[in-house]
């Protein structure tokens, strides 16, 4: 991520305003920060064009019918972890997949509509991926805090 794109304090204060309300108008943000609406608009566009910022609606897992959330740590054996993770990432149930340091090799966040989906995921999907030695799940019973507002940003889709 070491490119030469730089942000200053004004950019960051605009981002803070957008984090708390992504639908605030340029004028509302400008008034709050003592800027002009044109400045706010130009700065947002600059960060968006550089794929550093997206102002979006995030939706709840339950809005999509996902009622089971679990984190799964994976031990890999006999195969490159980077290959295993790529295959796992293709499954739509896998919402996040990372290569990690420590006792396990891969960490994933998996969402299911309900527990009935578990057998299909295990028996038909994960079992087809070579190199998984063990899967160690942690089933989310309660989510206390979830504020992932920093993420890899994909290039902007053509609208």
């Amino acid at each position: 991520m070491s490119d030469d794109f730089a942000v200053d304090e004004i950019d960051m204060s605009i981002v803070e305003q957008l984090r708390s309300n992504g639908r605030a108008t340029n004028q509302q943000i400008a008034d709050r920060l003592d800027l002009t609406a044109a400045t706010v608009s130009a700065r947002i566009r600059r960060m968006e064009d550089a794929n550093k910022l997206r102002v979006v609606a995030v939706s709840d897992f339950s809005a999509h019918g996902y009622n089971v959330l679990m984190e799964i740590a994976i031990e890999v054996e006999g195969r490159a972890a980077s290959e295993v993770v790529k295959e796992l990432a293709e499954f739509p149930e896998v919402f996040a997949a990372h290569l990690v340091t420590g006792r396990y090799d891969i960490d994933m966040l998996v969402a299911l509509h309900d527990f009935d989906d578990l057998s299909d995921l295990l028996l038909n999907k994960f079992s087809s991926v070579k190199g998984i030695r063990s899967l160690i799940p942690a089933i989310a019973a309660d989510v206390i805090k979830y504020e992932f507002d920093v993420a890899p940003i994909e290039a902007k889709e053509a609208v």
Binding site: V7, M12, V15, R19, S20, N21, G22, R23, Q28, M47, N51, K52, L53, R54, V55, V56, A57, V58, S59, D60, F61, S62, A63, H64, Y66, L69, S82, V85, K86, A89, F95, A96, A97, H98, L99, V100, T101, G102, R103, Y104, D107, A111, I136, A138, I139, A140, A141, D142, V143, I144, K145, Y146, E147, F148, D149, V150, A151, P152, I153, E157
Partner: protein, 162 residues
């Protein structure tokens, strides 16, 4: 979990707004062939029900080279909720869930220095009474990440859109 049932129009609206939240109600109304009032009403309802929230997502490395860290906590069962609430209050912790598995609590945070992760895991969290064990792991490479579908919690209430 919420019992709210969303219809097809809700899903189409969410799809549009998940690409760009700053698009005007008028344009959404045009695209979906409904009135602006319908768009406004739907957005308000979805926000009130905690189904959507409008926010800014910034790229990893916009400000510093933060890395995602996983902090697993083994704690006394009867203190789990209280400990999870305490961990959620730590500013560098982005997410906390109570889990059934190898940990009672799983926390996630973004750290730009290993020192800082160590301070949070081994000084702050380990020092909470009832915490028995803390394990950390760092994401070296993120292969997939869906930032658009999240858990909207009370700790991060949706704020009314304009």
């Amino acid at each position: 979990m919420s019992q709210t049932v969303l219809d097809e129009l809700d899903h189409r609206l969410i799809k549009i707004l998940s690409k760009d939240a700053r698009i005007s109600n008028r344009r959404i109304a045009n695209d979906l062939d409904v009135t602006e009032g319908t768009v406004r009403g739907r957005i308000k309802r979805l926000q009130q029900e905690g189904m959507i929230a409008f926010t800014a997502i910034t790229s990893f490395g916009l400000v510093d080279n933060s890395r995602l860290a996983f902090i697993g906590v083994q704690a006394e069962m009867d203190k789990t909720k209280a400990i999870a609430d305490k961990i959620a209050k730590l500013p560098s912790v982005n997410a906390v869930m109570i889990t059934m598995g190898r940990f009672n609590i799983l926390a996630f945070g973004l750290f730009n220095e290993l020192d800082k992760l160590h301070e949070v895991a081994s000084d702050q969290i380990l020092a909470i009474p009832g915490v028995h064990h803390v394990e950390t792991s760092l994401a070296v490479k993120t292969v997939k990440y869906n930032a658009r579908i999240v858990k909207i919690t009370d700790a991060h209430p949706p704020i009314n859109g304009g």
